[in-house]
């Protein structure tokens, strides 16, 4: 292997004016760096098969449990089951991302990466891609089992369920990334789960229709993204075609995910005290 392959060594003196120009500089978003980051995150997961097993199996086990809890009232299982298929990826991706980015911050690897020519967008998009891929796998398993084995009665296309589940996963990734900036330790990070997710869980219409809540709470639920995630799942449950409400729900959930991802990017500081 010839050392002439590395442009750095081809430069005669390190202080030559062109020293830094023949190297790829930092850009806002570089597909190659984003993909390298996503591959690295997934590679980290392959060294942790137990986490992968937990990620993939817990939703499957819980949805099965739910099916037999509501053995006597299949309609209830349809309503709650569909909602849960959207909520699982949100919660698990929230937890996984908040811990993963917190570890990145505390281990010093984030400081190293930000001192290197890596765009913040590359890092965030890399995480979103990697955990998005895991979420697809997770949702595929849970949705397939629910629809084909447990008899979840979906009027619309199961693919639309999968789409909402994927967007929910991205929202969870975004929230986790954002929240990890405010956690100094893993203890604090896991406490953000009940703080950020539980209120949404109570108000999203899973337990009772949102229009039957106290008006003030209904107003709050109107601005929480999980309400639209659950609403989107219910649209697929009851309608064969893609409804206007479904499109609205999908847009709101993706908009929220992008907004929170941008907020998360703002919390990544190259310079820290």
């Amino acid at each position: 292997m010839s050392t002439a392959n590395t442009p750095q060594q081809a430069t005669a003196t390190p202080q030559a004016p062109t020293g830094g120009r023949d190297r790829p500089g930092p850009q806002a978003l570089s597909p190659a760096r984003t993909l390298a980051t996503a591959a690295r995150v997934l590679r980290q997961l392959t060294h942790d098969p137990r986490t992968v097993a937990l990620l993939l199996l817990i939703p499957v086990v819980l949805i099965t449990l739910l099916r037999y809890v509501f053995d006597g009232s299949p309609q209830t299982f349809d309503a709650i089951g569909a909602s849960l298929l959207g909520i699982f990826p949100l919660i698990t991706m929230f937890l996984v991302t908040s811990i993963a980015t917190l570890r990145e911050r505390t281990s010093g690897t984030l400081e190293r990466l930000l001192a290197m020519p890596l765009g913040k967008g590359d890092l965030i998009a890399g995480y979103a891609l990697a955990f998005g891929a895991v979420a697809i796998l997770q949702s595929l398993l849970a949705t397939a089992l629910s629809v084909w084995v447990l008899g979840l009665d979906v009027v619309g296309s199961p693919w639309l369920l999968l789409l909402v589940a994927l967007l929910d996963a991205l929202l969870g990734t975004a929230l986790g990334l954002f929240v990890s900036a405010f956690a100094a330790s893993e203890f604090q990070a896991v406490q953000f789960m009940p703080a950020v997710i539980f209120p949404q869980l109570l108000l999203c219409g899973l337990f009772i229709a949102r229009d039957r809540m106290a008006p003030a709470l209904e107003a709050v639920s109107n601005v929480l993204p999980m309400s639209y995630a659950v609403d989107g799942m219910n649209e697929v449950l009851h309608h064969t075609e893609v409804t206007g409400n479904f499109v609205r729900d999908v847009l709101i959930v993706s908009g929220c995910a992008l907004l929170v991802l941008a907020l998360g990017a703002a919390t990544l500081r190259r310079r820290t005290t």
Partner: protein, 255 residues
């Protein structure tokens, strides 16, 4: 792009405030290109903060700080500087090679650089003597081995400036000697500028130039011989202690 003085690093009135405390107090110094400059001083004297300011990860920096002809932290500097933090910053749940592969992909992204990346990773593994552990999970390595993985990652892009925060802590004497000879090779053959911090004074003798620090200020600046001659001592350690006493006396006299 170089400044007139031709220095690799040039600081004028460099001040850093951390949590309301002034950690660096108006430092003036230069670091010569292609040489090894040792940054020495007791723990907590501001060595790490100075290094973070140079690589551009330190907030609340005032004064002038030019690195390789650009203001510190300038985006074009990022591929040109290798930085090793005091604590090894690597992914413990990846193998040594996977760690280096990832950092190499950040420096030289894209498929067309694949061969160059592979060569860079192989060379970095050889440089830090970890070829035999390339496929071991970083989390299973010893502290010294982990430090070397972190150092290997910084060597990847053949940077023009290497900023190494206590790179030899916890390493055995043989390895320390090998790493110092690697540092000298980098400076001599590639013209790499090295800024190396240490609180072990015997490493000072291996540097071309020294910056002695104490309580956020530069106590002395010069070659090891010059410092020894000036203080009329046999070792840099004695020279440092002499200078500390001198500074304390002049401080008392000023009161």
């Amino acid at each position: 792009m170089m400044n007139n003085s031709g220095a690799a690093i040039e600081a004028r009135g460099l001040t850093v405030v951390r949590g309301g405390r002034t950690v660096l107090r108006g430092l003036d110094f230069t670091v010569e290109p292609g040489r090894i400059t040792g940054l020495l001083g007791p723990s907590g004297c501001g060595k790490s903060t100075l290094m973070r300011a140079v690589v551009g990860t330190q907030a609340k920096v005032t004064g002038t700080l030019d690195v390789l002809g650009n203001p510190a932290g300038h985006p074009t500097l990022r591929p040109r500087i290798g930085y090793v933090t005091q604590a090894p910053s690597v992914y413990t749940d990846l193998s040594v090679r996977q760690n280096l592969d990832y950092f190499a992909a950040i420096l030289q992204p894209g498929r067309r650089h694949r061969d160059a990346r592979r060569a860079a990773v192989a060379r970095a593994l050889t440089d830090v003597d970890l070829t035999s552990h390339a496929d071991a999970l970083a989390g299973t390595l010893s502290g010294g081995q982990l430090t070397r993985v972190s150092l290997g990652a910084a060597l990847l892009g053949t940077p023009e400036l290497l900023v190494l925060d206590e790179p030899t802590v916890g390493l055995d004497p043989v390895l320390r000697r090998d790493l110092w000879s690697l540092f000298h090779t980098l400076a001599a053959d590639h013209g790499t500028t090295l800024l190396v911090s240490s609180h072990v004074m015997d490493e000072a003798e291996r540097c071309h130039r020294l910056l002695l620090m104490r309580e956020g200020a530069i106590l002395a600046d010069g070659t090891p011989e010059a410092l020894r001659t000036h203080a009329r001592t046999a070792t840099v350690e004695e020279a440092f202690l002499h200078l500390v006493d001198e500074a304390a006396t002049s401080q008392e006299n000023a009161r």
